[in-house]
Symmetry: D2
Subunit: 266 residues, 4 copies
């Protein structure tokens, strides 16, 4: 499918966000330096599933240098499983661990002259909060208590979105560049074949359609609405940086302004 | 020695501080609930050497309930050694880990309507920063960057005191209720016999003298000056609460106003 | 109900096991020194949910001193949650973490001249493996690979029991002294009221019936069969030691020989 | 300097060892798969400074597949610092943590049909034990208690060597392929310029001289004796695999038999 020429009504601006700062001590994860120049929002790990104070500072500096908005990316306390393993946590535990991590990052960011712009839960915490309202509410409470002007990145139509809105937060629905969608708008579970899209041209095509038309083709071939205002790209795969560069360039050629949410376009 | 009657010039007020919130998950350490009513400043562990987000919240609430000032008690990342083992850390690592922990606690405290009042490094970090200027400066930089109105608790005449003053921070010299002092004003190393005083009456006598006269008897029998404005009591020994209650009562009988630093006497 | 006089056929011997060595660094949990003299098997934490190398050594020594059999008590890698929070783990992860922990304890025990006698999974791992056959099989594989003569403590009629038997291991069904049972023989979930029995005399009566008659009264008042060959007592509650002493004494008065499984009665 | 032709008396065989299995969860460190085919001994991290049970199993399998001897590589409990930061540990703590880690690895290795061949302490533990006799003795005690037939890799002329010999262990002196030496035979501290040699040809020349002549040129230009029976190569630098392949090939061309210590040459 050829890119549609940028005619018709202007598409809304789109944020490109990427998980960042997930390295830890001697362990390097992701290619933050290569990817950072091409994104508009960095979701920075806060020392639970990934990251540590030194990595957090380096990542905030790198984001500042490229004019990238900085958000917190809190996760479960499970470094061994990289925060990807669901575990039994209470709503109170979630509220407390989100506050802890957001506050820790904010302190480091503040010392670098940066204010946090958003919060995006990581991995299993993101998935559980999308499904379970009490956990979603706990996250929303933590964010509102910390700073009600922080934007919450959410899976569209999830409990997270509803809880964020009910708490009066600005929520920004998130799409995924390289993930396939079910007809009901949910992500195809990772364990299923085809859940992750590897072909760059296909990713580009899907993303441009999401941004311009607000639709994506689901696994059954049907087109479903998907109004993402921020798009998650991944920085820990080989060739991540060139994919992101290409994505951004294709979006801009299609007339999509790439900018962080809630900020004037550059 | 009998308590001196409270005549002559009024002694300066004295803060009673105690390490708090060092429990962790299923592990209970200290008798926070018993001790909190009798102190004026709580130095709350921040999840590195002790504490966790849930404990931090409970501790902040308990302090608020008793009108006790809340400070951060950051430590080395060594839960297995409870932050008591000195380790090779760079000044940058120290600056970052202090910011991380202070920010984490501040977020939780803020959600409970509490502003942090002070910072007191824990254990090996306190001891190393007392001796090593670059580490002391790193702590002072972190505190100033986070909130220059935070008070820094310091060992008198230490590098920590000098670095805090050079950074423009309010520093409050700290005395220890149950530790013996060397003729040069340093603490007798814990490994040495007699470094910790166990007799309650002797502790009370020493503390009242510190508060009223600004002196303490050193290990060689000589009286040395010690102008502590905050006094560290311990909450993790049997009978801690009754010792603290007795200490406070003896101080007040001696005309010493017990109050957190920089706040009006109650 | 009065204790039945020890007439009729001899009841089978009963093992008294207790979780031990769950302290960690500066954190003390349980009253191991008080409880150890009264039990016959110690399930020693292996440094994941609780314990550390120093605690493991102290605990093994204490067990040896009292002639108590030593087993491994491996748990999930979740010290913050004390291994009580279920989490998504694969069978392979479980097999590896059981081997890791059993091997670690065995090395320390061997250096104290002690051979391990049994393995009992801890907390959430125990519960998940009781329900999920692949996890149960993973544990059984790990134990068999390490030492097929190790006894596996299992919840009666659980997947753990079936997997252990299928692997050719000696399995020993376990009863719980202070837990209530459902009519189907499962433990009443902890979240439910009455799941934990606090009355000492009631505990003693139930345990003596379990040991002598092989029955226990379920929550609906019916008597159900429960043939436990090892009985789990808890060491981390106030009065734990005196409860255990009383239990053991009542059992012995009732003609029950208290001894570790697979060893000659003392 | 040209390679000396392999004339004269046969040089002793040389072991090539490399730190392996230092990845952790989602974090990949080193290029174990590329390096393993070219070495003769793998020192496998045991879950403290690096590694985890899953990585340990994969690493043991990989070593087995290439006929490489497997040893334990225990480190300090400091994953955040990768075991490279010296910390205050007692001899008893060291003895216990070595036993713990060696036992954990042995259990996993045994389940893969592999017996451990050696122990080599990691990072700061290696360095501290080279200097401090009580720590060296603690390591030697742990190894002897676990299995007195395990070989201990030691820095030549260090306290570690002396303690190992005094404990009756087989000690194997270790040389470093890419490190510069002081005139007294110690390694040039890493912080100093030139402490690490990057030029492959120079590394090859030095190693061949070590192996054939038992000498190395120190920082002052003098030739000093260095009788290493195992040579440490690094697997975590770019091009590590090709350096190791080249090293081994140069050694074999020079008549050096490359083989694990204490085993018949291949």
């Amino acid at each position: 499918m050829p890119h549609r020429p940028p005619t018709g009504p202007n598409p809304p601006p789109l944020d490109l966000n990427c998980d960042m700062g997930e390295s830890f001590g001697a362990y390097v994860l992701g290619s933050d330096e290569e990817v950072m120049p091409h994104i508009t929002s960095a979701s920075v790990a806060c020392g639970y599933h990934g990251g540590d104070p030194a990595v957090m500072r380096r990542t905030v500096r790198l984001a500042r240098q490229h004019g990238v908005a900085v958000g917190a990316h809190p996760g479960l306390q499970d470094r061994a499983g990289f925060g990807r393993r669901e575990m039994q946590v209470t709503a109170q535990e979630v509220e407390d661990l989100v506050l802890y991590q957001v506050g820790a990052l904010e302190a480091i960011a503040r010392s670098e002259g940066i204010r946090l712009a958003h919060v995006k839960p990581h991995g299993a915490l993101y998935n559980m909060a999308a499904r379970e309202r009490p956990l979603a509410e706990a996250i929303a409470r933590a964010v509102r208590a910390f700073d009600p002007s922080l934007i919450l990145f959410v899976l569209p139509h999830s409990e997270m979105q509803r809880a964020g809105e009910a708490a009066g937060l600005t929520v920004v629905p998130e799409g995924f560049a390289d993930r396939s969608y079910e007809p009901d708008g949910s992500l195809t579970p990772r364990a299923r074949r085809g859940s992750v899209i590897h072909d760059i041209q296909e990713i580009v095509r899907r993303v441009v359609r999401m941004a311009r038309d607000g639709t994506v083709t689901a696994t059954d071939g049907s087109d479903i609405p998907l109004s993402a205002a921020t798009l998650c790209v991944h920085g820990d795969t080989p060739g991540a940086a060139s994919l992101v560069r290409e994505l951004r360039s294709a979006l801009e050629r299609s007339g999509v302004i790439v900018a962080p949410p809630g900020r004037p376009a550059r």
